[in-house]
Amino acid sequence: MVKRLAVGLLLVGLVAGLAQGAVTIMVLWSGAELEAFQKVTAAFQAKTGITVRVESVGRELPGILATRLAAGNPPDLAAMPNPGQMAEFVARGALIPVGGIVDLTQFPKAFVDLATVDGKVYGIFISADLKSLVWYNPDALYAEGLAPAHTWNELLYITETLAARGKTPWAVGLESGAASGWPGTDWIEDIMLRTAGPELYDKWVNHEIPWTHPAVKRAFELFGAIVRNEAYVYGGTTGALSINFGDSPAVLWDKPAGAYLHRQATFIKSFIAGAHPELDLDRDVAFFVFPPIDPKWGTPLLGAGDLISAFRDTLEVRSFLQYLASPEAQGIWCGALGKLATNVNVDPGIYPDKLTAEAAEILKGAEIFRFDASDLMPAAVGSGAFWKGVLDYVSGVPLDRVLADIEAAARAAYGP
């Protein structure tokens, strides 16, 4: 009897031991991003023997995660769509602090602060994207006798000159399925940083100024001066609203060029390469930093990042988090995708091309860096009313009504 019990216990222990050597992580990536992430998990598995089960659920991640959490069955870890949603999960008491697990001094303070709620850090950024970039086709732009812009006026000069010649200056794509509108929020955030400065930007993020504030209104107006002008945008406003963000820059490299400028984050490079495989990225594709507007605020940078948080505190989870934070993991992940590493110890040699290394250099040299505002706002605003507001504004709704609508949603979402 005792013997049987011992064997039974042993079996139970064995099964439990096997089950323990695994972590599950829910991610929103698919395609190339998922492949790159699986390379990271494979390297981790080879190193530690801990199995990583990756559940790729796509853009429905917030919904699926919320349901699993409500059912008491969350994954061990999950990629957070943005810090705003991470904060929602923190408020529900679902996430564990990572401060004692990962050495946070490996990261720039800006990224640690972004994952901090009430003084505790609840996530790590495994990579970043730089958003304040204007992409162009050097051959096409120089053929028009034009050069990259260093000031807002130069940017407007390029825009007006091309339009006067009957050409379309900008390629804009605001369509992104259920998330349509977000590329426009990036424009407005970049402009807001350059016209109102970082302090007012932060107040805007925290809803300490209303959406009807003149500074917010001005940022929308400068955005609208370009994107609402039928002659400035490929396909006019309906084109900007209909064309997918990933497809939109391709026309810059068509012959003849359908447009000349495209404002988008570093990740768009892979979409350009996908649409035009014949391009030599180092020679045919270039960007300049979205130029300053008010000289007082210089050239602040806007960015975003991939954030990982944990729901359970186990040895395996700890070990996986530490690995994700390491230069080794970031080298695999960023090297494969051309994302920018957040760990300061990552060797710049990992980047696949000159463009990415250049963007990483720009990010490192940032005097002022701010995270994508819409990602920091409560989801009802940052992933709801703000997106819809951009679409409404570009499709012709008067600005005052757009801002009043977003303000109404913000009042409800931020609470009293």
Partner: protein, 288 residues
Amino acid sequence: MNMGRVHWLYLAPALLMLGLFLIYPTAETVRLSFYGPRSDVFVGFQNYVQAFTSQPMLIAFRNNLLWLVVFTLFTVGMGLLLAVLLDRVRYETVIKSVIFLPMAISYVAAGVIWRFVYTFRPAVAPQIGLLNAIVVALGGNPIGWLIERPWVNNLALIAVGVWVWTGFCMVILSAAYKGIPKEMLEAARIDGANEWQVFLHVTIPFLKSTLAVVTTTMIVFVLKVFDIVYVMTNGAYDTDVIANRMYNEMFYFYNYGLASAIAVILFLAIIPFLVINVRRFRAQEAVR
């Protein structure tokens, strides 16, 4: 015969399932609708006030009303028309099968298919959307079918729903139509009634109860309409509907309170039609 309390024993499994899967979730939703976004603070009727006064919700109510009228009119109307007309056609089964086919496609897939049909490309580029390709071939300018508010985009969405459901209405009504005794139609014709009069005074009265069932089924569907709108516009450009609003509030904005309140409103709006349907059904059973 007095069975004592034994009947409760027989009922127990059914009641248990009913309680677990229907009564409990409903009661819980009603409870949550009186609490804040995180279900921790009691807020009274605040969620309901917001549901009935906020701009996005008012637009959603308007659109559901538009869906209710246009969608129901077209699915039932065209279903009836097809049922009656196809009865006189030689290849009836083939045509009916083709029209019924979209029923086999999920709404998400239908939404994706129709997004391709409605795709907009600038006039200078080759058109990849079927509808705009036709418009351009006829010398017009491409149209943003899902963007032009308030009529074009909403009607474009409703058209997808009609495409899916007309076949269903047609099949049910066709079955009922074939149940009309041929002698009656003939008698009416011999008495000098023209086709229109036969349709109006014989066919319609005979199909009345089936029409009522089909119509209420369509109304119940249309009040819950979600997939098509979510996939195609996610409610942008004033195309939102109540169910999509509820989904967004729940799963993207984490406002459990407001989402539950919207669910309760939707539930209450559907009940009258369910009652009508059940009554009809009972009346029919009684006749048999």
